[in-house]
Each structure stands twice: as structure tokens, then as C-alpha cells.
């Protein structure tokens, strides 16, 4: 399965944020989307997620059976500031989600198994989400996206403000689901991207570009990425 982006352009008023982007993401890989602050990473995700209207461009999912336009249900979006219904307990939230989506979920598990997946203890399951920490809310957000099992999962800086333990748990979780998905993970922390992702793409100068690793060691690869980010004009 591939996600093909063709000729994506997005402007905000007179400001050109993304310009004629052509790029292909492949299944089974975690893509680290790196860009400087204000480069347009969130805009890129919002375009893919259809939260904003694009000025031009097509998103196509292609597999051995053919090509289809990317549909809303093909996409999951984990935002950096998790949005959850605060006056539901985690268990209620999950139960409602499972009940509403019961016909769509494959390999249904028990609620307990789902909570185990994101390591939420029993004593926290009956707590209001309002009382959850940022990291716990993020886990819940990630969990329902994993259960919904979209073909493409967009992750907008989801690990940035998590503590190291939760960060590690989430990394393992993402690695465990990458097989049948296309994961695009945006961050401005280079080390995190290098540690987690299979491919690094940079968003710079309104364009997306793959950074070839070739035979470089991590240090040289890192230098190459920074040089690319510095050299080109960037959009502030």
C-alpha cells in the first residue's frame, strides 16, 4: 500500500505554505517529518486530514487492487494536544467508542486488553479523563486511533511533552503497529525521529524531500539533515 501525494499546494491568503508537493509514502514504515518551526508540518497534516481545504492536490491510496482517493476513514490523526471528552471516565470513553464502532473493528479485544496495550492501570480506568495527565490523555487518543485501525496514521508531535517512560512505551507501540500502516510522525526533535523512524523526510521551502541515508553513520546523517534544513530557504 502506498500513499501518493500529487501536486499539493496550500496557501493561507497570500502566504504560500505548501507548493506543488509530490511524494509517496509506503506501508510498513514510520516516516519522520522534520521541519523548522513554522515550516508547515501541521498544515501538511491538516491538508491530509481534510481539516482545511487545499488549493490543489490529490491524495491517492494505491495497493495491488488499484488506486483510490484517500477517504476520511482511511486516516487517523493524533494531535499534539490531546482532545478527549473530559467528563467521561477512560473506561466509558473506550466502551462508547467500541460500541459505536463495533461493526468496523477487526480482531476485537476486551476492554482490559486494550488498556493493557497502552499500559493504563486498572485503578486509573474509572478516573475522569479530566483528571488524566497530558501523557495519559495522549495514550487514550493513540489507543482509539489504533483500534480504529486507519490505513494512514498521522502523528503531530505526539511524544514531545511526554515523560521518558511513556515516550518509550509509545515508541514501542508505534513500532508494533507499523507493519500494516503508513505512519507519518512529525517532530522537530531530530534525535527522536532518528531513533524511531525508518525514513526521514524534511519539509522545507514548501516542499517535502526524502533524506537518503546511504551508508552514513548516525552522526553524519544528522549533520546532513541539519545542513539541508539550514541551507535551503525556509519559511518562517
Amino acid at each position: 500500500m502506498k500513499l501518493v501525494i500529487k501536486n499539493l499546494t496550500k496557501n493561507y491568503g497570500n502566504k504560500e505554505v505548501l507548493k506543488e508537493i509530490d511524494f509517496t509514502f509506503e506501508e510498513g514504515k514510520i516516516y519522520g517529518l522534520i521541519g523548522r518551526n513554522g515550516a508547515g508540518k501541521t498544515t501538511f497534516f491538516n491538508c491530509l486530514n481534510e481539516d482545511v481545504e487545499v488549493d490543489s492536490g490529490r491524495f491517492i491510496l494505491s495497493d495491488e487492487y488499484g488506486e483510490n482517493e484517500l477517504k476520511t476513514e482511511d486516516i487517523g490523526y493524533v494531535i499534539s494536544t490531546p482532545t478527549v471528552p473530559e467528563f467521561l471516565t477512560a473506561k466509558e470513553f473506550l466502551s462508547f467508542f467500541l460500541e459505536i464502532n463495533k461493526d468496523k473493528i477487526k480482531d476485537k479485544k476486551t476492554i482490559e486488553e486494550y488498556f493493557d496495550l497502552v499500559k493504563i492501570n486498572k485503578e486509573d480506568q474509572d478516573k475522569l479523563l479530566k483528571e488524566y495527565s497530558h501523557g495519559m490523555k495522549n495514550k487514550m487518543q493513540m489507543l482509539i486511533n489504533i483500534i480504529a485501525n486507519p490505513k494512514v496514521l498521522l502523528l503531530d508531535e505526539p511524544l514531545t511533552s511526554l515523560d521518558v517512560v511513556v515516550q518509550e512505551e509509545m515508541k514501542q507501540l508505534l513500532k508494533s503497529i507499523k507493519k500494516d500502516h503508513i505512519l507519518i510522525f512529525s517532530t522537530h526533535i531530530l534525535e527522536l525521529a532518528l531513533d524511531l523512524c525508518d525514513e526521514i523526510v524534511i519539509l522545507n521551502n514548501k516542499q517535502i524531500e526524502l533524506v537518503e541515508k546511504n551508508n552514513l553513520n548516525t552522526k553524519k546523517y544528522k549533520d546532513k539533515i541539519i545542513k539541508m534544513l539550514k541551507d535551503e530557504e525556509h519559511d518562517k
Binding site: 476513514e73 490531546p82 467528563f87 466509558e92 462508547f96 467508542f97 459505536i100 478516573k127 475522569l128
Partner: protein, 519 residues
């Protein structure tokens, strides 16, 4: 569709019950009685609260409907005192027309919708259908009952059917408008005002003997029926409701995320795109805090001045409108004169509502003091008092825009309604309005500086601030019952407000350097 409705209801109820338990647990005694999260998982406790919740929400809905029909009834007694029933139906017709265009269900954004469609992944079209039917059927039934209680004539069903069909047509029109222009009809201001204006004119028709009667409404119903059917088919043909909801609710997402405060701050800045560029001439020759304050107020000109100008225009319209009415209606003329001579205390609450002090201090905190107070130099007593002084002057000037319209308008109204035995009223009333306006401007700034009610996360933290705000309202409200001759009341009020302002300013000068800080 029924499943969507059931599910949505279930989520709503759980949400409401949990909110209730959460508030309950904030009270110390209940916190000790129900420790931990036991109440949230107790099915028994929740079912008791659910029954209570159901009763309360039904009672609330009934209350809203009672208020709705009470307003219609009162308006009918004014519009057609000789035939109230006809007036009720006429006004119901107008309300329905307005509701048809602007009270749309499909495109309204809400947290509930965001959670249901985007987060819980509910089928958007089924959800839309469920919400639409719930709304139009509830209205059909409750309006039929309401009108039947008032009129007891089968003709009312012609009107409620008109409401039913009208809502479907209105929803379709709204979705069409949104897909074509990317905004809901509610935000199409020229259209909005045209409908309001036309409705206002239709409301006056009974004055010249024209009223919506059963033959007219029958014809309208017959015309509306096929249009409503086509509209419903049109609504059902649209498949991308999920996309529509997602786009419409992106802001709701932001408002419900941890970004909410950042977002609301952003929203305040976003409104005033045209204020981003400041005319260089206005900054010429200014230095230090003078420059700082000028930049702040210039950047917030739109926030500060828009509502002040709006209130000024509305006040002018009301004064002119009332002026015309009293000239053609001698009874009204007499009553208004009596009111102006004995009930001037009413203007305390009017000036309270017109005053923008609370909003302005909020803008000050969100967009300026919140970050500036983290710097030591900004907490310097001299700086605090200097900034305070400039703010008092600017806020007072802003509030004086609508105040001066009222201050000029009231003596004119007094004069044309028959005048006053005490000529001093022509001077004391304007001074009373102006001092009242200055008083409210100072009052909000003073309590802001003395209690600085927000914490570093911009959450309201001060109970004292909330209490004083509530007390201010209560005093203003209770004065509406206060009867005293205008001459005496205005003079006492002038002295009291001036005295308060002087004392408050002295307290601020003494205390603000210690109290004005981030909690």
C-alpha cells in the same frame, strides 16, 4: 438513525452525570463521603442521578418553551390587544421564519458534535438525520401543545406544520449556502439583517390591519410542502457530512484541547487583523510606557471600540425610535415622562450592561499583563501606577462613547415628553450618566488591580473578584425597584460615584503595587 440517537443520548447523559458528580465532589462533605473514583463506577448511584438528570433536563426544556410562548403572548398583547390570538399566531409566524434561517441544527458546531463525529467516529449522516428529526419533531409537538394551550383552535396546526416544513427548508438552505460559500447562513450578515428587518416590518403589519390568517398560512403550507420534500431529499443526497462537520468543528477541537486558553487568546488577536498595523503618526514622539500603552490600545482598538460604537448606535436608535413613538402616542409620552422623573435608577443597570470594563481588563490580562508581569521591571510600583493611570483614562474614554449618546438623549426625551418641574434635571441627568460611566470604568480596573483574579494559566482564581462582580450586578439590579425622584437620585448617585471613585483610586495607589501580580 435510532441507534445514533440512543448512543448520542447515552453519551450526553453519562457526560452530564459525571459533571454533576465532579461538582458534587468539590464540596468538602461529599468529598469525604465518596472518596476516590467509586461514584463514577457505581452503576446504582449513576442510575439515581440519571433519573434526576432526566427530570431536570425535561423541566428545563419545558421551561424554555414556556418562556418562548410567554414572550409571544406578551408581544401579542402589545401588538394586537383586541385580538390576542391572531397576534400570537402572527408573531409565531415571524419567529418561525427567523428560526428557519438562523436556528439551524445541521451546521451548528458544538463540543458534543465534535466528540460524536470526529472522536467517536459516528456515522455523520445518520447522526445528522437523528439530530434533525429529534429537533423538528420535538418542536412540532411542543409548539402544538404550547399554541393549543394559548388558543385552542385547530388553526394552530397549520402554523406548527409551517414551522415543521420551514425548518427542513431552512436546514437545506443553510447546507447549500455552506457548500457554496463555506460559511453558514447565520454568518451572512447582509442576509441576516435583511431577514431581521423584513421580520420587523412583517411584525408591524397588524398595525395597518394585515395579519397572517388561516387562508394565508394554508397557501404557504401548500407551497412549502413540495419544497420541504425536495429539501429533505437534497439533505439526504449529501454524503460528505463528516467532512463538513470536521471542518466546522476544527475550532471546537481547539477550544476543547489544552490549547484552549492559547486559542482564545489567539482568537482575540485574530479578530483585529486591521489593528496589526499602527499608524506611525500615533506613535510619533512617544517614549517608554507612554509608547507601550499607546501600542497596546492601538492594537486593541477593534476590541475596545467595536462594542462601544455598537452600543452607541443601538442607544441612538432606541432614543430616536422612542422619541418618534412618544410623539405619536400620548399615553406612551405620559408614561415615559413619569418613568424618567421617577425611575432614573434603571439607568444604573443599563450602564452596567453597556460598560465594557470587564472585557477590557480580560483583554489586558490575556494579551499583555499575563506575560509582562513575569518581568521584574513591570512590577515596579511606579510602572504599575503609571500604566494604571493611562488605562483609567483610555477605558473611560471608550465607555464615554455610548454614555454620551445616552447623556444627550435622555434630557431631550425628557423635554419632548413634557419636561420636568425641576430644570436642574436637564443638567443632573447627563452628569449622572457620565459619572456612572466613569464609575464603572474605574470600578472594573480597580478590582482588577486589587484582586488580579487570574493565575498563570489564565484561570480565574479570585473568589473576592467574583463576589464583587456579582455584588455589583446585584446592586445594579436591585436599584430597578428603587423609586426616588430623578433630581434627588441623580444628585445622590453623582456624589456617591465620585466619592467611590476617589476612594478606590486612593486604595489602588496604595495597594496595587502589592496586589497586582500573577497568582
Amino acid at each position: 438513525m435510532i441507534n445514533s440517537l440512543k448512543m448520542s443520548f447515552k453519551i450526553d447523559m453519562t457526560y452530564a452525570i459525571n459533571s454533576f458528580i465532579y461538582s458534587l465532589k468539590k464540596i468538602p462533605i461529599f468529598k469525604d463521603l465518596f472518596p476516590g473514583d467509586n461514584l463514577y463506577k457505581s452503576k446504582k448511584a449513576k442510575s439515581i442521578i440519571r433519573v434526576l438528570g432526566l427530570i431536570l433536563s425535561s423541566a428545563r426544556m419545558i421551561l424554555y418553551k414556556i418562556i418562548y410562548f410567554w414572550v409571544i403572548y406578551v408581544l401579542a398583547t402589545l401588538l394586537t390587544p383586541k385580538d390576542i390570538s391572531a397576534g400570537i399566531l402572527h408573531i409565531y409566524f415571524i419567529f418561525t421564519i427567523i428560526g428557519m434561517f438562523f436556528n439551524n441544527k445541521v451546521l451548528t458546531t458544538s463540543t458534543k458534535k465534535y466528540f460524536s463525529i470526529v472522536l467517536f467516529n459516528m456515522d455523520a449522516k445518520k447522526y445528522m438525520k437523528a439530530m434533525l428529526w429529534q429537533e423538528i419533531l420535538t418542536n412540532l409537538i411542543s409548539h402544538s401543545i404550547g399554541l393549543w394551550i394559548l388558543i385552542q383552535n385547530p388553526i394552530i396546526f397549520l402554523f406548527t406544520i409551517f414551522g415543521f416544513l420551514g425548518r427542513i427548508i431552512g436546514e437545506r438552505l443553510n447546507v447549500w449556502h455552506y457548500t457554496k460559500y463555506k460559511i453558514s447562513l447565520t454568518y451572512n450578515y447582509p442576509f441576516y439583517w435583511t431577514v431581521i428587518l423584513l421580520s420587523g416590518l412583517v411584525a408591524l403589519l397588524p398595525r395597518i390591519g394585515i395579519i397572517i390568517t388561516s387562508p394565508i398560512i394554508t397557501i404557504i403550507d401548500i407551497i412549502f410542502l413540495p419544497i420541504a420534500i425536495l429539501s429533505y431529499i437534497g439533505l439526504m443526497k449529501i454524503d460528505n457530512y463528516k467532512l463538513i462537520f470536521k471542518r466546522l468543528n476544527t475550532k471546537v477541537r481547539a477550544l476543547n484541547s489544552n490549547q484552549s486558553r492559547e486559542y482564545s487568546r489567539q482568537a482575540m488577536i485574530d479578530i483585529k487583523e486591521k489593528d496589526k498595523k499602527i499608524d506611525e503618526k500615533k506613535l510619533k514622539g512617544k517614549k517608554g510606557y507612554d509608547l507601550f500603552n499607546t501600542i497596546f490600545f492601538e492594537r486593541h482598538k477593534e476590541i475596545l471600540l467595536r462594542s462601544a460604537k455598537w452600543f452607541a448606535s443601538i442607544s441612538l436608535l432606541v432614543i430616536v425610535g422612542v422619541g418618534i413613538l412618544v410623539m405619536i402616542n400620548p399615553i406612551l409620552q405620559k408614561n415615559l415622562n413619569k418613568f424618567l422623573l421617577n425611575n432614573i435608577a434603571w439607568f444604573v443597570i443599563i450602564m452596567y450592561f453597556i460598560n465594557r470594563g470587564a472585557i477590557i481588563t480580560q483583554a489586558m490580562f490575556y494579551n499583555c499583563d499575563h506575560s509582562m508581569l513575569t518581568f521584574n521591571f513591570y512590577r515596579n510600583p511606579k510602572v504599575i501606577l503609571n500604566v494604571f493611570k493611562t488605562r483609567v483614562l483610555t477605558v473611560s474614554k471608550v465607555n464615554l462613547i455610548p454614555a454620551s449618546v445616552i447623556a444627550i438623549g435622555l434630557p431631550i426625551l425628557l423635554y419632548i415628553t413634557g419636561g420636568t418641574p425641576n430644570s436642574i434635571d436637564y443638567i443632573s441627568i447627563p452628569i449622572f450618566i457620565i459619572t456612572l460611566s466613569i464609575f464603572f470604568s474605574i470600578h472594573y480596573l480597580v478590582i482588577y488591580y486589587l484582586f488580579q483574579p487570574y493565575d498563570k494559566n489564565m484561570k480565574m482564581k479570585s473568589i473576592a473578584y467574583s463576589l464583587i462582580s456579582a455584588l455589583t450586578y446585584l446592586i445594579a439590579y436591585s436599584l430597578t425597584d428603587f423609586k426616588m425622584s430623578t433630581t434627588l437620585f441623580s444628585i445622590i448617585a453623582i456624589i456617591a460615584t465620585v466619592a467611590y471613585s476617589i476612594i478606590a483610586l486612593i486604595i489602588v495607589y496604595k495597594k496595587a503595587p502589592q496586589t497586582f501580580k500573577i497568582k
